[in-house]
Symmetry: C2
Subunit: 266 residues, 2 copies
């Protein structure tokens, strides 16, 4: 249980302070805050988390690189510079990157924009002592959230860089991949984070259709064991986008995450 | 336009006779019937289609192989033997395979069941003069419709067999794949069919969320050109699952398919 991290989006309506308190009450040692939940003074957020005795598994999120014009792309990169600063201020080792959709039908063009942006940000991250974790998203989100759609693709990008760039493996996004276990093995040394939830039937909003571990189709324990074997021994984030879960009190949600984590993941 | 084929599911409420008549009126030369729309006497369906002057691009569909027990798997294979017979009776060169979901969380086990079933059916298909087209489905359907989720995976299966087994490429299912164009090139000689529609925002039922060509995110003309280059010169099926489209008169739907096909595909 010492590896369980509560990703804050799992209680999307709770404040950072409420999420932190719920983790403390339920003996969860790690938390992954989201940028839009931070205050205007990340140093104070950092103190709040540190004084509660919690560690930070990652900051969510940077990315969203492709855009129609060079000026817009430059603005996106500037926003990611700020995200790297915030991660450094918080003491977060990892900034998760959700790379963004294409501005038009040209997926390959958008993928080059992602690669160009990561190349610009790599030395910035290294100087700040922050790692950038490229997270492949489920191909269902290729049109709306990320042109990086497979673990193989994110690994190829990460392998071009040093240790400042790696991948984040979210079981929800990659569970369907016929090459999953070979790719996890190949990712050894490049895994910056591991997220769990479960695949349930899609709801009205596919983004909000994740299930609690054990409710769905994903062979979570096998994937977790493969990630372990690949040498990743860090925190495991529970990250569940689900409106019904958001309506529960955050302490109840944290309790449920911990119970299901023990039952279906570790 | 001589390559346009009207996949019957694009007007899901129309009878085979109505779909055939609509194709004739709109000068569409090919049709892809679905098994559940056939009569009890496929020979009569064959005559209906032939006498209307239409050719058949494929029969939809066989597959659905994985099941919890050996008895159930054997029943699925028997159903596919019947589908092969129906295809032969219709004069359809290709039976499309939607391979089916796993009966539990063991995706790899289900994938082996698919491979075993295809190995049993390959000689049956060869003897009947029917080709089996393994269609990878979008990973969004991995839990509900097919454990075959990528073109690479379906190609690896097809490459183990002779010309009686190949792949069917549906742009909706594969457009997001970072390796798409390399895989289409590799598929040269193994492509048994090519389907088009478009990716639009997901609706309440993801299965019924396909758009008309030009409405969505898919770079259709580029994919079509790549399939051409790989040597596939056969019919191109328009296959759109969409309830709003189903409510239109079939002749109107065929007209719309032909117009958008010309505008966005060829």
């Amino acid at each position: 249980m010492s590896r369980l991290s509560f990703n804050q989006i799992t209680s999307g309506h709770a404040s950072l302070a409420d999420a932190v308190n719920a983790c403390v009450k339920r003996d969860v040692e790690w938390i992954a805050p989201w940028r839009h939940k931070l205050s205007a003074k990340p140093a104070e957020d950092a103190r709040l988390i540190r004084e509660a005795g919690l560690k930070i598994s990652s900051l969510c999120r940077g990315g969203m690189f492709p855009a129609a014009t060079a000026e817009q792309r430059s603005e996106r990169i500037d926003d990611n510079r700020r995200a790297i600063e915030e991660a450094a201020t918080l003491g977060a080792q990892v900034l998760v990157l959700v790379c963004g959709p294409a501005p038009d039908r040209d997926l390959d063009g958008a993928r080059h924009m992602v690669e160009d942006a990561v190349a610009v940000l790599a030395p910035v991250a290294r100087a700040a002592g922050v790692h950038l974790g490229i997270e492949p998203l489920h191909p269902m989100f290729a049109a709306t959230r990320s042109v990086v759609a497979t673990l193989e693709q994110s690994l190829k990008m990460a392998e071009r860089f040093g240790s400042e760039i790696g991948v984040v493996i979210d079981a929800y996004h990659v569970w369907w991949d016929p090459k999953l276990y070979a790719l996890i093995e190949r990712a050894s040394g490049n895994i910056l984070g591991f997220h769990v939830s479960d695949w349930i039937p899609l709801l009205a909003d596919p983004l909000m259709s994740r299930g609690m571990m054990g409710e769905g189709s994903i062979e979570l324990r096998r994937i977790r064991a493969a990630v372990d074997l690949a040498g990743y021994t860090g925190p495991i984030e529970v990250e569940i986008f689900n409106e019904a879960l958001w309506r529960k009190p955050v302490e109840e949600t944290v309790r449920l995450c911990a119970a299901r984590f023990e039952e279906h993941v570790v």
